[in-house]
């Protein structure tokens, strides 16, 4: 079969203030017609730069293809004239980008954005192009496309926008589709829909796909062949089955090991790849993964050969990284307790009711667990949330009367015991973040009760809350956005203590150092600013800040979803370790069921403002009762490429919480056969067996 795309020795560089850097350094691969190639690796490994070099969309004027060749259909694209590239882009190669929010022009109608390429490349008239656009929107599964063509991007949901992006990329039936993290910003259910759509369109048009992602599950499901990139080079390239069954390079093994699979054992320490990708200007000539492992000598001086080991299986043959037993990860599958090698003898300071206690770790632990046991003995959960409702008014009319309400949280009851982790999962828009914010009283619920340590804080004034806030803290999703860039890390971490009037300046500084030790950051970090750190380190700062006032409960709102997989496992390990050491309770909010299952004792599944199922983490995965829970589990990409899924992905999206459908909202979405029965019924959680709560909906639960 002929090769559609041939990349040979591609080198791409950028001019920076520190001089020229080489982001892609000698990358070669081929892609055949109709096949799917996966490109995987951490951020900063040159995946996107490689793809953008092909279509000449590098940032101008700093980015440049320096060497090698790029041949599409035996036509050289490197150094091709702008006119030529304009014919190639959009016509022969379509591109989908990661952020569907930002990738569409906000001030142009959807229809115009699709027709633009059709008019450019196919010489269509405006009217024909518009008809074609409507058909395309229909093909990518957008309901009532005639209406959508005259709408603007902000009127569509994220999933719908990504469908529009696909329609734009595919409108001229390209030979090659480059999809750069097409589903990273989307929910698992929507991700499954989008991936399904890409495969379907691929079959229809017969195009090849280059799929860039950091999600190995997506790779396993979608790709025929995979290239693993590290620090601007391909370290391994193999057919998908071969790569998953017989990874040769230590980096590939590390990536495969560091992800919590849904089947893996809960609460184990996740293997992590030590260190991080070096900044591009510090890349060595030799094996760059050895550079990360802090190996020296010849290994990092001479570039290892890139050889074909088995038919179609290429690897960068570094003697150290391709050893049989090269296990760079720390031991997996041991429980957290066995692994922690804390400097337990080192003193650690804790304030309990304004009394400062400085003691070795071990004693603190007994002290805290003593507190915990006392709480547990009286059988009062640390946190009780009873029938909480959080409705936001929708105003309209001349005098801004309230015309409706967004029922973001609509009657939720949960409880968290001391030392326990409750996982909260659901698609975006289901109200899980709103619930988290209501619990720490960043919002004031309209109804229901929030009882923390036996005290009702539902309607407590901001003034009296201030004192209570040291008992519950929140860690936010995006560490880059939630930390003030104008404050030093030391100021950020000590600020909660200043507010709570804990200690004097000297004591606070001392505690900042302790906290930095605790979350695995160097003490020198205190004088730096948050933007000087990587994503994972920033999240560690966020955690240190939350820990500063010795809280009992941490509300973790998507704490790892903005992080790379390898960093994600580091942060998850830290959270589990802290929980064990400090006796913390967590409300862990996330959309990734595999991650939630790994860290949680119990899991609550939320849909459209309501909990639909809640039970032990293990049970919910082995024996889900509610159709929505089942759909969420099925939407997770299966990590074994030999075990292909056959089910159809969950259709549609979470409906608007302003006008929720009558009866069971999920039954309405999936068109459940018994949906009519649920109409007019008051749907509530029922305990079907000890500790297993399921909503009593007649259409989604089979008994």
């Amino acid at each position: 079969m002929s090769n559609l795309l041939e990349i040979d020795g591609l080198e791409t560089g950028f001019d920076t203030e520190r001089g020229p850097i080489r982001a892609v350094d000698g990358v070669s691969f081929e892609l055949q017609k109709g096949k799917t190639l996966g490109v995987v690796g951490e951020s900063g490994c040159g995946k996107t730069v490689t793809a953008m070099s092909i279509v000449d969309l590098l940032p101008k004027p700093s980015g440049k293809v320096l060497g090698g060749s790029i041949r599409l259909n035996e036509k050289e694209l490197k150094g091709a004239d702008q006119k030529v590239m304009q014919r190639v882009r959009g016509n022969e190669i379509g591109v989908i980008f990661q952020e569907p929010m930002a990738a569409l022009n906000p001030v142009q109608r959807i229809g115009k954005q699709i027709t633009e390429a059709l008019i450019l490349h196919k010489n269509m008239s405006k009217a024909t192009a518009l008809k074609e656009a409507v058909q395309l929107l229909e093909a990518v599964g957008i309901p009532s496309p005639e209406r959508r063509v005259i709408e603007y991007p902000h009127q569509l949901s994220g999933g719908m926008r990504q469908r529009v992006m696909i329609a734009i990329a595919l409108c001229c039936e390209p030979d090659l589709l480059i999809a750069d993290e097409p589903t990273t910003a989307l929910d698992v259910t929507v991700q499954a829909q989008i991936l399904n759509l890409i495969s379907k369109m691929q079959d229809n048009i017969g195009m090849a796909v280059m799929l860039i992602t950091h999600d190995l599950g997506v790779i396993a499901e979608q790709c025929d062949e995979v290239i693993v990139m590290y620090a601007g080079r391909i370290v391994e390239r193999a057919p998908v089955l071969e790569l998953f069954s017989n990874p040769l390079h230590a980096y590939t093994k590390g990536l495969l090991a560091s992800i919590p699979w849904i089947e893996s054992e809960r609460k184990t320490v996740l293997p992590t790849i030590p260190g991080q990708v070096a900044p591009i200007h510090e890349f060595v000539e030799g094996c760059r993964f050895c550079q990360r492992m802090e190996r020296s000598g010849e290994l990092v001086q001479e570039r290892p050969p890139y050889l074909e080991i088995n038919p179609g299986h290429f690897v960068e043959q570094c003697p150290e990284c391709t050893k049989e037993d090269s296990n760079i990860c720390n031991e997996p599958s041991k429980s957290v307790g066995q692994i922690i090698k804390l400097r337990r003898s080192e003193p650690f300071t804790v304030w309990i009711r304004k009394i400062k206690i400085k003691a070795p770790h071990k004693q603190i632990l007994t002290l805290l667990t003593g507190r915990q046991e006392k709480l547990n003995r009286v059988r009062v959960p640390l946190l009780q949330v009873k029938e909480v409702k959080m409705h936001f008014p929708v105003r309209g009319g001349i005098f801004s009367r309230q015309t409706g309400a967004v029922k973001a949280v609509d009657g939720v009851s949960i409880s968290i015991n001391a030392g326990e982790t409750l996982g909260l999962v659901g698609e975006s828009g289901c109200g899980k973040s709103t619930l988290g914010k209501s619990i720490v009283r960043l919002l004031r619920p309209n109804a229901g009760k929030i009882i923390f340590k036996g005290q009702d804080i539902t309607t407590m004034s901001q003034w009296s809350l201030r004192k209570r806030r040291q008992d519950f803290q929140m860690v936010f999703q995006d560490p880059a956005e939630s930390l003030d860039a104008r404050m030093s890390v030391g100021q950020l971490v000590s600020e909660p203590m200043v507010i709570q009037k804990m200690g004097n300046r000297y004591e606070r500084n001392e505690r900042v150092f302790e906290l930095l030790d605790r979350v695995g950051l160097p003490r020198t970090a205190a004088d730096k600013f948050s933007f000087e750190f990587s994503g994972g380190q920033k999240q560690r700062i966020g955690i240190a800040r939350a820990l500063a006032v010795n809280p009992d409960l941490l509300v973790l709102d998507e704490p790892v979803s903005a992080l790379d997989v390898s960093v994600q496992s580091q942060v998850l390990n830290l959270l589990m370790e802290l929980q064990r050491d400090l006796g913390l309770s967590y409300l862990f909010i996330a959309h990734d069921l595999a991650v939630v299952k790994h860290v949680s004792d119990r899991i609550a599944v939320m849909y459209l403002g309501k909990i639909v199922e809640m039970t032990d983490a293990e049970k919910i995965y082995r024996n889900p009762k509610h159709a929505y829970t089942k759909a969420l589990i099925e939407a997770i990409p299966v990590t074994d490429p030999s075990r292909m899924r056959e089910h159809e992905p969950l259709e549609g999206e979470v409906p608007s919480p302003i006008n929720p459908p009558d009866g069971c909202a999920f039954g309405h979405r999936i068109n459940a056969p018994n949906y009519e029965k649920s109409k007019g019924r008051d749907i509530k959680l029922e305990e079907i067996e000890s500790g297993h709560w399921v909503s009593n909906c007649p259409c989604c639960v089979d008994r």
């Binding site: 980008f97 990738a103 105003r395």
Partner: protein, 309 residues
């Protein structure tokens, strides 16, 4: 949309009333009164004059009577220094200022916007550095320097152009140029900034990925969003341009409205002062509203916001 406009107009009325209040009391706080002159006028004559203009009433009554008269009689009182109704004075001088201001704005847009767009397209090139340096100079050099320079080096050498005066249409050129250059400089900088912001957005990359040629990239995708900061600036600055500039009008002998702002204060003519201040405030309110409506037309996301509120 209509509700939005009505809301904004009501807000504008409040703003105008606040402006009136401040101007009124500031005028009263000025030392002296309209009839304080060097000439010896008898106390009786002064008292007669005060009664004639209603200045003998209590402060509160004066404060309330002025707006009531505007609403009931459409009267903006009579200028104490000119002895003519303020309304007539504005009606006579405003058209001159309007023509001058419109020409100045036209010049500013024709120079500033293209300069900004070109600078953004050729970021960090000599074109960019050059035009931005000129723009900086344009902002820094005041009109009372530019005006005389134009008179000396252009008007004096080109036949047909007068150094000063206001009669034929050709007389508009020099004062409009003087008035418009500063605005042009601001516009160039704002347009450059707006365009650079838009050109760095992801959707520009999407457009390139579609194969859109670079000239169409600017006209179809970048210009609409890139002009928004400039439009927000044009609104209020347009009001300032058409309500006249004392300096430019004085240099080029233009019988516009700008002179009244200064002369009214010097003559302690509080009714004229109130009249021109309120008129200027009214223009600002209207132009800001117009700029917002224009922004809404260009940016559908803003439209959504105003509808929800």
């Amino acid at each position: 949309m209509i509700r939005f406009i009505i809301n904004r107009l009501l807000q504008g009325l409040l703003v105008l009333f606040a402006l009136y209040t401040i101007t009124f009391f500031l005028a009263k706080a000025m030392p002296g009164e309209p009839f304080t002159t060097e000439k010896n006028i008898s106390e009786e004559a002064k008292a007669y004059q005060r009664a004639l203009y209603g200045l003998d009433k209590s402060m509160l009554e004066q404060y309330l009577r002025y707006p009531i008269n505007i609403v009931t009689e459409g009267s903006f009182a009579v200028s104490t220094s000119k002895g003519r109704p303020v309304r007539d004075i504005i009606a006579q001088s405003f058209p001159n200022s309007l023509i001058l201001g419109l020409s100045a704005l036209g010049i500013a847009i024709c120079i500033g916007v293209p300069l900004g767009v070109i600078s953004a397209m050729r970021k960090n090139s000599w074109v960019d550095w050059g035009s931005m340096s000129i723009a900086m100079i344009g902002i820094c050099v005041p009109a009372f320097t530019v005006g005389p320079l134009l008179q000396i080096y252009i008007a004096a050498h080109l036949p047909g152009l007068k150094v000063a005066g206001w009669g034929s249409p050709i007389d508009i050129i020099l004062p409009a140029l003087t008035l418009g250059l500063t605005t042009a400089a601001y516009l160039a900088r704002l347009t450059r900034g707006g365009m650079l912001e838009i050109l760095s957005q992801d959707f520009i990359r999407t457009a390139r990925a579609k194969g859109v040629p670079s000239n169409k990239l600017i006209t179809r995708h970048a210009l609409r969003g890139g002009l928004l900061p400039a439009i927000a600036f044009i609104g209020p600055s347009f009001a300032a341009l058409i309500s006249g500039s004392f300096i430019v009008e004085t240099i080029f002998q233009v019988p516009g409205m700008g002179q009244h702002f200064v002369n009214a204060v010097i003559a302690r003519d509080e009714f004229l002062l109130l009249g021109v201040a309120l008129f200027f405030g009214f223009l600002i309110v209207i132009m800001n509203l117009a700029a917002d409506i224009l922004t809404g037309i260009l940016d559908p996301r803003v439209r959504l916001d105003s509808n929800q509120k």
